[in-house]
Amino acid sequence: MTVRALAVAHVSESPRVAAARPAWQWLRRSPLAFIGGVVLLLVVLAAIAAPQIAPHDPARQSLVRRYVPPAGFTGARAEHPFGTDQIGRDVLSRIIHGARISLLVGVCAVVLSSLFGVTLGLVSGFFEGRVDTVIMTVVDIMLSFPALLLALAFAAALGPSLTTVILVLGLTGWERYARVVRAEVLALRERDFVEAARAMGARAARIVLRHILPNTLSSVIVLATLQVAQAILAEAALSFLGVGTGKAYPTWGQMIAQGRDVVTIAWWLPTLPGLAILVTVLSINLVGDQLRDALDPHVR
């Protein structure tokens, strides 16, 4: 039986086990997704152990070592493989520390928006009627704003901080979960096992939490993975525009913004942090796409 067929066949019986195993096999079988997974793991480890593995203090400035180019270019120094910036800070150390903010914001924002969106999607799909209309109208309203613009406006009103960025990205990203989960609930509630649970006298809360929710999880996991990538890009954009997590710690978006001002004399300053974003987001997307193929055969 193919992985796809397995995933489908098991959905109605024990969705969690069926979902987890073929997904892992699928991931191993696809070399690209495997590479993505390994790279992602390295980025996560680098973020966790940043103070230990970063060669220098990311905030230490040095007037005599400004604009040191990266390794391989004339004037490079062995102790600064990625060069230094306009006030002599080590670029590699700043990129390693920047991974912390990106991943932290990405994961926290997605946890927040998925909790919010899944709950609303379950309620909306299961109870239908007026509740459904209200929730879906709110979704429509949220979709009328460019998410970035909304995040920008509220980030500015609340003042730049890590919490603000997480809150703002978490509260602008939940519509997708609500839509996906609602659609799944509408399909699932007509299925026999839900009917059986109802016939046995299960209460609504039990049906939703024990029988419907587990069956929506595979779509939610896929969506959440891909949304982490989106949240990282959004955080970078907010930092780039100067309404990000503040100046206390280095972030990739902020490094690119500072590098943009000196792009004519130090090409590596905007280039390298951007590559860090590209590598991280690409890895997440590769893993997420394979997960989607494995877990979610219906949705493209």
Binding site: T137, V138, D140, I141, L143, S144, F145, P146, A147, L148, L149, L150, L152, A153, F154, A156, A157, L158, G159, A229, L233, A236, A237, F240, L241, G242, V243, G253, I256, A257, G259, R260, V263, T264, W267, P270, T271, G274, I277, L278, V281, L282, N285, L286, D289, R300
Partner: protein, 304 residues
Amino acid sequence: MTRVLVRRVLRLVVVVAGVSVVTFAILHASGDPVALMMPESPEAERTELRRTLGLDDPLVVQFARFVADAARGRFGDSLYHREPAMALVLARMPTTLTLACLAMAAALVISVPAGILSAIRRGSPADHAITTMVFLGQSMPVFWIGIMLMLLFGVAWRVLPVSGWTSWSSVVLPVVTLGAFLAPAQLRIVRSSMLEVIALDYVRTARAKGLSERAVIWRHALRNAALPVVTVIGLQFGIGLGGAVITESVFAIPGVGRLIVAAIGQLDFPVVQASVYVLAMMIVTVNFAVDLLYTWLNPVVRVR
């Protein structure tokens, strides 16, 4: 048709009301905007400003006034420029719209043929190359694409200007940047809707009756694959405007995006509110138009 129309118009009204609530909330999200605007002034001056701005009225009164004013395009004077906020926004809107529309057109010119090619030659080297580009494109921040293009064409080769919005040559890089940001999502939709249509029975019938491959694709498949593309163009309008805000910041283009970013830095709330409101209204209108177009193009929806 009339019933669908009535329902769509009702939804439009509700969404417009929602947009007003959210825009109103921007000013109040901080709790006390006056404390943000004048952090070091004595309390007496703050109270004075609160009274002039009408911030000491009950929230309901303030909201009613906001809605009435917003409907007439009045958001108050910019605290920084000392001109009506709405006039500032409208003066810069053509630039932003030009950027967004040119980028959207540029992206479509690439993504539609590439998406079709990728779908009808599924699994070929061309498909792999295109899919790889999509993946890469979707993983890059739009502002970084802009800076990399700037580095290449403006700094290394010196063939295009790196900033401004004055000559035709200065338009090229921003349009390409924003286009590269929009194209991957379009391409994905074109490809997947084309793949879906190609697998349908009527396409097989067209092939079976001996039509040329070109006629099958262009006359039969493409027409139905166009529906999701229309929807995407509507949805992308919002993303495009959001992308334009960032692109303007990269290339120092005097549009609404730069205005709004500057206004946020200066805590110029009337300008922030006016820009968000106008942009959201434009998106709502475009989505409404797309909805109608979709209903008109797709008989299945029309009947329901």
